[in-house]
Structure formats: structure tokens, C-alpha cells
Homo-oligomer: 357 residues x 2
């Protein structure tokens, strides 16, 4: 069962919840904006379903709700930032806004973040870059979730990676993946909805393949997508978000699920490339439009849907949600209710749900 | 059948072949170095097996053997280069050497190359960066070879992407993939060796799955790995190597196989990140060593090989080849013989093969 909720009401409630949890107003607004837009784009595994878990970590002392980012090193084209044990989302939003200032004046710019936590959907940050006329990349390490190729232990994160670029009449191209065969959020949603999962998604704690999503919470191990290819891309993200950022790496990154009381040590890395230096933004956007138009004109495979450009589905959902509201799945509603209850806002939650369209 | 050939003899013959084909001495040495090292690393699909094909394109007028790269735009942290319709390998070697000069002084640096051709194995160039103490990325678009997700036409290249980074006692981490389920060179080698290929590698010209590698030359279509994930990564490479580089894109990139007489219009993009700006190279290398040590200590999956770090297998093969020679597969020997015959060097080829160890 899902309910369709107004985007502005959802954003308001989410913001109020984080303010009540001790998060400064501007940071709470960033939390609400990122989680709501992510749900609008249909990525429910990284939307408000996470709200209660962030508050669990705040309550357990693993996330400092009022932490302020600190710049450790900087130059005209780069920053190394510490999130100081705070929430990953506002730290990432502030770091990327600083990156965009650098990226407007430099052909390339890079910001790393350490002592951070779960930053939500990587693609959100790359869209901030694309909307500023820049090519953007975003990535983060995570606690160990995947078995490296040939291994029988969760030893590396599923390490999300996203890119986006301005694309004129197509808005942007946007691509956001994690390195496991599927996002673990999808396994958690299947568990909450008591559904089995397809073969190949998960190994149990002993490395044996399973279709039971409940095995994930019992120490189950995600598999890298494309075998060694997903593994090698995960190591790339670990290198940039962990080794380069001075963040924790591999087993040093703590799970916000199993250890809500520790600084997770998560690291992020964000990069921009400015097309103004490479023939100009206008010419670049024209070329992106031409590329996308050519991809959209490819004939559909027999029996399949037509070809889409990266991000097309997310943008369609976002437009639709802005017009008609967000169809929130049960797991999202349930976790948002829990967050509201923890912060004394259950009446506001009930009012929002009662007024659902 | 394979023959084991001395690395230095193979390099000498390959260089002589390209000199006889009209390639300037230094560029011929670059061709020989890149192709031989690639064979030493066991990537036979991108080694001397390609030598005769490069000469086919020179003979047909599609590659100018004596082209010199020209800088179109530049700044302290970037270059846009034209390969002027010449061989991709020497253009890429020269561009990456220029990039490394920039990358030593900048936190990030980027070089694009347009009007180029097939540049061999992407990983070679990232290793030049890693050996200079830099994190390196290399990528190239190719002629359309893959169906975008949901499509029934080869509309985008399999767009290779590689990264490498210095890793102290482990030499480096090195990762080099293409976005198709397998490299098309592997399909071509299977065709030359009259073997069938596993399901999932190839669609025939009508979009129907096939296990016959001969279908590739008849218009067969590669599939992206990991479905939409491989597709989106291919679009990323097309964006940086095509749209940003001012190179041809998608159907504008011509196949050196089917149209050896045209400028293929291929584009490349190379990026460096300098760890000196992010806490220092020494600290970065320590962290890479710690990460790799932790990955190598992961217990092996039941019945499987142990966990490897990215590049470990290639480095082992390279060391082994340096000591004992390269075991060249039949397809490589046959194409090298053809290249030697085209350039009047068949006696030198026979002498090399006769002296094989």
C-alpha cells in the first residue's frame, strides 16, 4: 500500500522532524530537501525511509546533529573538508556548494569530505553541479557490504557513484549507481514488504546465495555487479572517498545500522569539470542534446520499452510528483511515522497522511 | 597453439614494422612499447594482434602515419589536443606525457584528444600516471558496438575506461574495463579460433542473442555489462571523450574495421589527481597499501580462487613475461605475420618465431 503525499507537506514535516531532533534549521531544511527530492525521483530506498535511522544515530551519539564542516586544506581548485561527525547530507550540500564556487572559475575542481555519514542519493549532488552548468561527479564509501570478487566476507562498501551534466532541452543527463548488483535499500524494502528477492542479489553470512531478504540484516553479503567490474569500480570509489579524503576505509567505516553510536568515518569525493574551458557551455550542451537525441532514436528491442537517456525516468517522476504528489511506499510511511513519533510530531504526521491526495 | 617470444625481439620487430609503414621512429617505438607491454600483461586482444589492422588503415588513407598532435586550447591544468587524423597510440602517449607535466603541478589536470583513432589498452596510459605518482584516468569512445539498454541497434561504443594509482609495495592498483559484457577483441579471437562464445555476450544484427562469434563481423551487437549500469557508464565516457573533447560522437565515430579509409573521429579523455595536494603522496601510498592488504586478507569463497587487488593479475603476467617471454596466441602471431608481410619484414618475423624460447 502506498499513499500519495503533497511534496511541500512532506518537506515541511521532514524539516520539522530534524529541527526537533536537534538539527540547526538550515541543515534540517537541507535534510528535507534532499530526502524529498530523492523520493520525488522515485528513489524511495534513499528518501524519507531513512529519516528515522538518521535520528537513531543522533540519539545514540554516533551523529552530532549540530556539527559544522571544517576546511582542513584548500587551494583554488580543491578543498579537503571534515564533516566533524555530523549528518552526511548537510555536510555534502555545503561542500558541494563550495565546490561549485570553485568549479565556476576552474576547469576542474575537487572536494573531499571525511568524518561524515550516509549522504543519501549521490545523484542529488551531481544535479546541483549540472544546474550550475558544470559536469559533476559524486561518490561515497560505505561500511563493508559486498564480497570482493572471489571473497566470502563483506569487505568493501557498495560505494555509490553518480555523474550528471547539463543537457539543455533534456534538462540534464543523470546517472547514479551503487556497485552492488542492487542497492541494499532495495533488499531492506523487500524485507519490510515480506517479498523474496531475485537470485544473484545476496549471499548469506557464510557466502551462500540466498533469495531471503531477511538474511541481509543477519549479516548477508551483497555481490558486486558485473563481477570484477563492480569490484574494481568500488575500489576506485574507496580510493577517492577514503584514501584521498583521509576518511576511514573498508572495515574502518562503521555501519550506521549496526553501530548507530559510532562516528561512521564515511568519506565522500565530489568533482566538477567546467565546459566553459573546453569550447564553451553552449557548444557542450548542443553536443549533449545531439547525443541524447541520437540515443532516443534507436529502435526498441523486440518486446521491450524504448531507449531512455540516463536520468530520463527520474526527471519524469520528479515532474509528475511536483504536479500530483509523491506516492510513498509503506516502508517509507512507516519509518517517517517512527521519526515523527520520536520527535513528538506524530500528530503532524497523521494530519499529513489524513490529508493525502 | 601459442609461441613464447622474447619481449625485446617482439618490441624490435613491431617497431620496425611501423617504421616501414611510414610511421616516424619515435612514434613507431611508442606503438611497439604500448602493444608489447599490453601483450606482456596478458591483454592479447589489444596487443600486437592489432598491428596489421593499424597498417590496413594507414594503407587505406584513414590514418595519417606521420600526423603530429596539435594543441587547440590550453591552460595551466588542461589541454585540448587534436591527433590530426594520426595513430591513436602515439597521440595518446604524447598527450598523457603532457598531462603528467601539468598534473605534477596541479591538484587536477585533464587532457582531451580528438581526431584520433584506436588507442590500444586504456590501462597503459593510467600506469604512466601512476608511475609518475599520480592517480590517472583514461577513456575513449569507439564506433557504435553496443545496444543501449532497450535498443536493437549498435548505437554507442563499448567505450573503455581505466584508472590506476600508485600503491607502493603492490606497485599500483590498475583497473581497465570496457562497457560491453566482454571486449569485442575477445569475440574476434574466439572467431579466429573457431570457438563458440558464452550466452549473453552478443546479439546478432537483428538483436537476437547468439553464441556464434562470426556474427560479430556480420553486424553483431555487443551488450552493455550490468544492463543500464554499463550503458550509463558508456554515456559518461562518450560525454568526456566525445562531447567535451570536440571529437565525433556515437554514429559519427567510424569503425577502423569497416571503414579503414576514413578518419575515425575518435576522442579520448585523460585526467590526473595529484595526491601531493591531498595530504601528500607518501600518506596516500600508505593508505593504498593498507587498503590492498585488507582486501588480500579476505577469506576465499568456497571453491574459488583467492581475492586479488585490481591489476595484480596483469602485474604478475608482466613480470613473468619479462623473465620468460610472452606466450603469444595464434591470432596474435597470425596478424603480426600479416603486418610483417605487408611491410617486407616476413623474414624478420620468421627469424623471431624460429628463435622462440
Amino acid at each position: 500500500m502506498s499513499l500519495t503525499i503533497s511534496c511541500s507537506l512532506l518537506k515541511q514535516l521532514t524539516s520539522d522532524i530534524f529541527i526537533r531532533a536537534g538539527v540547526p534549521t538550515a541543515d534540517a531544511a537541507a535534510m528535507a530537501e534532499v530526502l524529498t527530492v530523492t523520493d520525488m525521483r522515485g528513489i524511495h530506498s534513499h528518501g524519507v525511509v531513512r529519516s528515522a535511522r538518521y535520528i537513531d544515530c543522533i540519539r545514540a551519539g554516533g551523529i552530532r546533529p549540530d556539527a559544522e564542516i571544517a576546511v582542513e586544506t584548500s587551494g583554488p581548485a580543491f578543498l579537503q573538508v571534515s564533516a566533524a561527525g555530523g549528518l552526511g547530507i548537510p555536510a555534502a550540500v555545503k561542500s558541494v556548494n563550495r565546490l561549485i564556487e570553485l568549479g565556476r572559475r576552474q576547469p576542474l575542481a575537487l572536494v573531499t569530505v571525511n568524518h561524515s555519514d550516509h549522504f543519501g542519493a549521490a545523484g542529488y549532488y551531481t544535479m546541483l553541479c549540472a544546474e550550475a552548468g558544470l559536469i559533476g561527479f559524486a561518490m561515497s564509501n560505505t561500511c563493508p557490504l559486498m564480497a570482493p570478487t572471489g571473497g566470502a566476507k563483506a569487505a568493501i562498501g557498495n560505494n555509490p557513484f553518480a555523474w550528471a551534466a547539463p543537457a539543455g532541452r533534456y534538462r540534464a543527463a543523470l546517472f547514479d549507481i551503487c556497485m552492488s548488483t542492487v542497492a541494499c535499500g532495495k533488499v531492506e524494502i523487500a524485507a519490510a514488504e515480506h517479498k523474496t528477492i531475485p537470485p544473484g542479489w545476496l549471499l548469506d553470512r557464510n557466502g551462500v546465495p540466498t533469495q531471503d531478504p531477511d538474511e541481509y540484516a543477519k549479516g548477508g553479503i551483497m555481490t558486486p555487479f558485473g563481477a570484477h567490474k563492480g569490484y574494481g569500480l568500488a575500489v576506485m570509489v574507496e580510493m577517492l572517498s577514503g584514501a584521498l579524503a583521509g576518511a576511514a576505509m573498508l572495515s574502518g567505516v562503521h555501519s550506521w545500522n549496526t553501530r548507530p553510536g559510532s562516528d561512521s568515518g564515511t568519506g565522500h569525493c565530489f568533482i566538477t569539470i567546467n565546459p566553459e574551458f573546453f569550447g564553451g557551455l553552449e557548444a557542450f550542451v548542443c553536443r549533449m542534446e545531439a547525443m541524447i537525441a541520437e540515443l532516443l532514436a534507436v529502435p526498441a528491442a523486440p518486446g521491450g520499452d524504448r531507449v531512455r537517456y540516463p536520468g530520463e525516468i527520474e526527471f519524469e517522476r520528479e515532474r509528475h510528483a511536483a504536479e500530483t504528489g509523491i506516492a510513498l511506499p509503506e516502508a517509507s510511511l512507516s519509518e517517517l511515522r517512527r521519526a515523527a513519533a520520536m520527535t513528538g510530531l506524530e500528530p503532524a504526521f497523521q494530519a499529513m497522511v489524513g490529508g493525502s491526495v
